[in-house]
Symmetry: C2
């Protein structure tokens, strides 16, 4: 089984990320910690309040506060104060579009964990709300083909 990606073109694509502009590395600057992922997991599943983040992600309040501030700083979450009539002010953290767009990464991680780290295929699964079928992450090309791990090439972007 072949697991590595072919390099293509005259330039070695590797040089394009060794200059520290690899976007995987950049992404990891923001979400490389366990707690950041778990906070985001909760955000995807509807958590908005400080205490709930700390409790459900099972991190201490100081850690929850740090990650929430950082994620707001990075534009992944937005903090929103609001007041229901007659009640006192509440704070909510909600996903921005940027934050929400990280969801496939979380799903990919969950899918991998379900396959390889759990005897029963994981405790929960995602389903398509329209048809009820299980959801999975796939690599697809712009022409609509499903792409296998042995059908990949890495190319340098021309316009730079």
């Amino acid at each position: 089984m072949k697991h590595t990606v072919r390099m293509t073109g005259s330039l070695d694509p590797r040089s394009s990320w060794e200059a520290s502009n690899c976007t995987i590395a950049k992404a990891l600057e923001i979400v490389s910690t366990r707690s950041a992922f778990l906070i985001l997991r909760e955000a995807f599943f509807g958590t908005t309040r400080f205490d709930d983040f700390a409790e459900r992600a099972r991190v201490s309040e100081p850690v929850a506060a740090s990650r929430l501030h950082e994620l707001v700083q990075e534009g992944m979450l937005e903090r929103e104060d609001y007041r229901e009539p007659g009640k006192r002010t509440r704070q909510h953290y909600r996903l921005t579009d940027k934050g929400a767009d990280l969801f496939p990464t979380l799903v990919a991680l969950m899918q991998w964990g379900n396959r390889w780290l759990d005897d029963h295929g994981g405790p929960v699964e995602l389903r398509h709300s329209d048809c009820g079928q299980p959801v999975e992450v796939q690599l697809t090309c712009a022409a609509g083909h499903r792409v296998g791990p042995d059908e990949l090439e890495l190319a340098v972007h021309h316009q730079r």
Copy 2:
């Protein structure tokens, strides 16, 4: 825009991962560090030798050694000694099926980084070797529908 996943069924799915059997959390036990991801990135792009891992992932040798050992321990990489006739023994680290299956997660992270952390859409891109079209990560259901972020439900697995 709606960014959160609906919960479905009589049981709150949340209880299924709060008991620390969330497979996202388990996955993060293995690959929550920046260096682990970068080592794996290199493995996907064909690196097999110790020095190359350290240099290309831009981590120190001790860190490379630690991550490589851990990843072998976790069954993500296999260490393989071999000797070309007339030459001395070499060591190679290669992805196992388990390790290779994490690739979509890396691609998802790269795709997100390309969209949100780089002005030019990222330094490199993946293409389908058959047709040359760019590759992206997608959520798809078993019935073949492309699934949007607002069409998701989280359900507890029945058989447990």
